[in-house]
């Protein structure tokens, strides 16, 4: 265990935790916005897969990572429009619709990959971007300020999302339609318009989360996200529908995963013990969810479709 408590290993673990947390954070922030407006999207995983494939394919064909990021966002946004029409215009049950979006995303991303690419082909993805001055700081500089651009974007989105939800008129509308849509409607707030916007933004961020995964890894393959989207939804509950809480949850999940990896690499845990320790992130998430569910409630109108006069 003493091998683990060295500065270099601890810093490497922290850096790995941040990298692992980034896709969760991006997707969970988007889902937070949607859920605060009363819309649950269990299809985050499927949207992430489509965003990941779109970003990967665009980068593979054009060698432009920037275009890959844009395509990831656009694909996610497009899926948001689809999900909005299904749940808001057609008033389909949100939970079931989300699962449908997941299955659609899983199948379509794989189909497109098989038809357009075939064998997994590496791309030059996101390289590290050192922030001037800050990147030169001892210890923390290497860990915090030598990351890829989407890591910075993800963490900067935390205060931005907090400000949007808590300090802007639009954010007030979001909270209103998520808690008492009838009252919001009576005050002239367009419930469905507000929800369309949150779904669009939330799904765009899910697409970006998928893009961050594919571009960080420099590869795509079937089911690349491997459950990241579902964990992101859980992290929204973990974070009690607050951006800072969601960030904390993402970091805990990423850091515990990174710590377990380091322990295994250094031979601190082996065999059955390693397998048991490997379950820590999931067990921790479940425990926190149980605790959070007891002390805080979800948005009152979550999963409830709005229909004027009902």
């Amino acid at each position: 265990m003493s091998d683990f408590f060295t500065v270099s290993v601890l810093l490497a673990t922290l850096a790995a935790g941040i990298r692992l947390a980034t896709p969760f954070l991006l997707a969970a922030l988007g889902e937070t916005l949607g859920q605060r407006s009363g819309v649950l999207n269990l299809g985050v995983e499927g949207v992430m897969l489509l965003g990941a494939y779109g970003a990967y394919y665009a980068t593979l064909r054009t060698e432009s990572v920037l275009l890959g990021i844009v395509i990831g966002l656009a694909v996610g946004g497009a899926m948001g429009i689809v999900y909005g029409v299904v749940t808001l215009a057609l008033k389909a049950e949100q939970g079931i619709s989300g699962i449908g979006i997941f299955i659609f995303g899983l199948g379509l991303s794989d189909l497109l990959f098989q038809k357009q690419v075939g064998t997994p082909t590496p791309i030059d993805g996101l390289g590290d971007l050192a922030i001037p001055v800050l990147g030169d700081l001892p210890w923390v500089g290497e860990v915090l300020f030598h990351q890829n651009v989407l890591v910075y974007v993800a963490f900067l989105l935390v205060p931005a999302m907090w400000y949007l939800i808590n300090r802007t008129p639009f954010g007030m509308n979001v909270r209103a339609v998520g808690e008492t849509p009838e009252a919001a409607d009576s005050l002239g707030v367009s419930v469905n318009r507000t929800r369309y916007i949150t779904i669009f933004v939330g799904n765009a961020l899910a697409g970006l989360a998928g893009a961050s995964l594919a571009l960080e890894l420099g590869i795509f393959q079937q089911n690349l996200t491997n459950g990241h989207g579902f964990i992101a939804v859980a992290l929204v509950y973990f974070g009690a529908w607050r951006p800072v809480g969601v960030m904390a949850g993402s970091m805990v999940f990423g850091l515990v995963s990174a710590m377990v990896l380091q322990w295994k690499t250094l031979g601190i845990v082996v065999g059955t013990t390693a397998s048991i320790v490997g379950m820590f992130p999931a067990v921790l998430t479940i425990l926190v969810l149980v605790l959070v569910s007891r002390r805080t409630g979800s948005p009152s109108a979550l999963t409830r479709p709005f229909e004027r006069g009902h």
Binding site: S8, A12, G107, E216, L217, I219, Q221, Q222, N226
Partner: protein, 334 residues
Amino acid sequence: MTTLIRSLIRRSWPVGLVVLALAVSACAEEETGRSADDPIRIAMVGPSASNDLAFTQSMVDSLNRLGQEYNIEVDITDGTFVIEDAAVAIRGYAEDGFDIVLAHGSQFGGSLSEIAPDYPDTYFAWGTSRDTFGLSNVYSYSVKSDQGGYINGAMAAHLTESGTIGVVGPIEVGDIKAYIDGFVAGVASVDSSITVNVNYIDSFSDVALAAEAAQAHIEAGADVLTGVSQMTVGATGVAREHGVLWFGSQSDQTPLGEEIVVASQIYNWDYQLGQIVEDLLAGEQNGRVITADFSNGGLTMAYNPNFALDADVREAADAVQAGITDGSISTGIE
């Protein structure tokens, strides 16, 4: 054209009337029998993509080669990482009257043990495994993957400069464990002072975790890596980024990094498939365990032609392979 290969990737399964129709079709097949001109119908259910450059692709490639020897018709359902989905596919193929149904994954054994007794005329095969459930229509296939692991490990020991080597494994079972144990033994056979860090990430498919495991190995000083299963595409990406050498297994992983992949152990299931097909053509059901190794051609090595491997290292690797093949070298792995 005597060989007909149709690889149809199925994504969903018919229910109700369609299943009934298939059952009727299977009954008709049973009544009429299969004439010598009819193609042998082989179905495969694989856990990951057909082109995963790993376990599933190794069987797909073998089926393609089998088609050059026999008149076969192949149907593939890949991506069945959910075992229940695989079970539906396996039963569906049996209902559909396929002659041979391959459940290509050790995780499918439980399902197969329930399905196989219901279709005594169908030849089932699964692996990697050493269990036929006592059924004459069930074959299991296995590989002595420790042999290629040993060769890769010996080469890795020659090539490491830091004296630290990293292994990214999925789950500590079957041919995976055998490969990694063989690799560690191969390294030790050259230089027992070399440190080999082994990290099982407990997932066959978590590419991001595999990438971070590779990163952790490199930060621990590794300058040579190896790994098994479809999640290693994440690890090879990190290896490429850091210019760290890579040894593959199951399929030729050269496409994942022509500048870093040294060699790969390849699973050729041709040997096992050939035995099952011959049993079928002879009208015999001799359910048994069929193990592939270097001596029967079930395992081969593929060297990256674009990697400038030192001639001495290659010579040493060839000598180890020859010794394993003729039995003069043992990996020590049971």
